[in-house]
């Protein structure tokens, strides 16, 4: 079987999606494509199935929170229009290369379309982000919390969530416990 020659993912995606590819960045040999949030699943699906690209595996989905001031109009560095960003790290086993596809979500109502339709493995990775960062993935088949208990309040991995907030699960000896415990939030 003949393997088609590898194509440049950036120019291939630009050709098809045009303005939906907002920025392209190179850092330490890694390519990042910033795409328009609403067209994210389309772009990912295109990168997965097209000959010469075949990014057949989703390695990781990770979210980052640029709180408090490293984003928006007042920020002078990288292109960071919104507070939250979600990166899809995809891997082409055939051509042995990686690519990062990134989309931004606004602080007021962080929403992104789900990539579960493209890769089933995105299911849990996105659930984890929804749990930890509070980003809603529209069309996700199972939007329950993944790691934290169902009745948990807040999204722990946001930058404005305190690290050491301690809530007591059983209150019968609460006074005795708090007497000798240091509190990180103090």
């Amino acid at each position: 079987m003949e393997i088609p020659a590898a194509r440049d993912p950036v120019s291939a995606a630009r050709e098809v999606f045009g303005d939906a590819i907002l920025r392209v960045k190179e850092f330490r040999g890694e390519t990042t494509i910033v795409v328009e949030a609403l067209r994210l699943p389309e772009v990912l699906d295109y990168l997965r199935v097209s000959a010469g690209l075949v990014y057949n595996m989703l390695s990781d989905v990770s979210a980052v929170d640029y709180h408090p001031q490293d984003y928006g109009a007042g920020f002078s560095g990288d292109y960071r229009p919104e507070r939250f960003a979600v990166s899809y790290h995809i891997l082409s086993m055939l051509y042995n290369r990686r690519l990062r596809v990134k989309a931004f979500a606004a602080e007021a109502d962080p929403r992104l379309p789900t990539a579960t339709v493209v890769w089933p493995s995105a299911n849990w990775l996105e659930r984890e982000i929804a749990d930890m960062m509070g980003i809603v993935f529209e069309g996700h088949p199972d939007p329950r919390r993944l790691l934290m208990p169902d009745d948990w309040y807040g999204h722990p991995h946001r930058r404005d969530y305190p690290l050491g907030k301690e809530t007591v699960a059983f209150s019968f000896n609460e006074a005795e416990i708090s007497k000798h415990k240091p509190f990180a939030s103090d």
């Binding site: 850092f27 330490r28 890694e30 990042t32 057949n56 595996m57 989703l58 390695s59 990781d60 990770s62 979210a63 980052v64 929170d65 640029y66 490293d70 560095g77 990288d78 990166s87 790290h89 086993m93 042995n96 990686r98 990062r100 890769w119 089933p120 493995s121 299911n123 849990w124 990775l125 984890e128 199972d142 919390r145 993944l146 790691l147 934290m148 208990p149 722990p156 991995h157 930058r159 969530y161 690290l163």
Partner: protein, 422 residues
Amino acid sequence: MAVATQEGSVEAQRRWEGSLDHLRGLVSERAVTGETMLLNMGPHHPSTHGVLRLLLELDGEQIVTCLPDIGFLHTGIEKSIEDKSYEKALPLTDRMDYLSPMSNNMAYAAAVEKLLDLDVPERGQLIRVVCLELARCASHLVWLGTHAIDMGAMSVLLYAFRERERILGMFEMLSGQRMMGSYIRPGGVWRDVPDDFLPTLKGFLNDFPAKVDDYEALLTQNPIWKDRAQGVGVIEPDVALAFGMTGPALRGSGVNWDLRKAQPYSGYETYDFSVPLGEHGDVYDRYLIRIQEFRESMKILGQAAARLETVKGPYRSQNNKYCPPLRSELGQSMEAVIHHFKLWTYGYDAPDDEIYSAIESPRGEIGCYIHGTGANKPRRVHFKTPSFMHISALPVVSRGYLLADMVAIIGSVDIVLGDCDR
């Protein structure tokens, strides 16, 4: 089932935690009507390898649906790392995948090095390879013992842990700790190997292959073992890829993908070893692959032990902006003292940018995503861990098998809940 006996208790029944309403759409309708049974397995169960909870829908003994519930060991490591400088965060990574702490150290150190663009000297890379392969053996030994116990072979654990103690002894020799060594650090390793390490390693390499033969004699042709393992938990290659499975679980399905070969790190491209592959993708193939990996690790360790004698030089980067100067320099050089003080109080700045780097752990690909802030603490660290992906695939892998096979499947994909929940 709760029965509504009093007025107003309908509301109470709705709030009753056994209500099935929140499971609608996740389990089949037959479970809601009571035709099939819902069984809770874990979080305290001897063969879920930690604190995994599975909600199983059973038709007789057959698994219809499997809903894994994780997070019982969610430690907030990623959030804690955001509050520490890059080097101080390293001990936390040990405690994610506690069966092979060295691999986690390596994943994190490799990511930090990539972010800083820091090079590791040859001897440092060599010592790392020794540690990683020993960690692979130690991790597979625990897997072998516990997997065999799950399947009813009690004695294998005693043999496997006997050899594991020797590996832990070597780790203690290197780092001063049996398990959580924090030995592999950004820029190299903590210190050079002590003088008595090499003879100990050679003694181990001399004995271990015969021990692997012993394990095989106990299990490989054992008819009970074969009955329990062959044809059970078959993972098709396309399913494995779709669910992002890596490591022996992927190679058991015949997909030739090993990051040590495909994207070599730490000088793995200079070692001669092969990647064992399975054919059927069942529990038995995954068992055979890990047994073969013992032998391949022995090959790598043999070559590395020979090089340890010849390759001399620094064991960590000489760039004192990122790596501490030698202890012996502190008495003579003011610059060394300044570097030392700066490193252990403030740390170092890393660029405000993001990288992703991955290595092959005993379980599969451990990826580390770091987004720096430009200062000495990361903005975000995320670990992509193999157990997480493997557990997310359990519903598909286990569908249609018997309840007893579930235990075999969990064991064979080799999950560690600390690795999964982080």
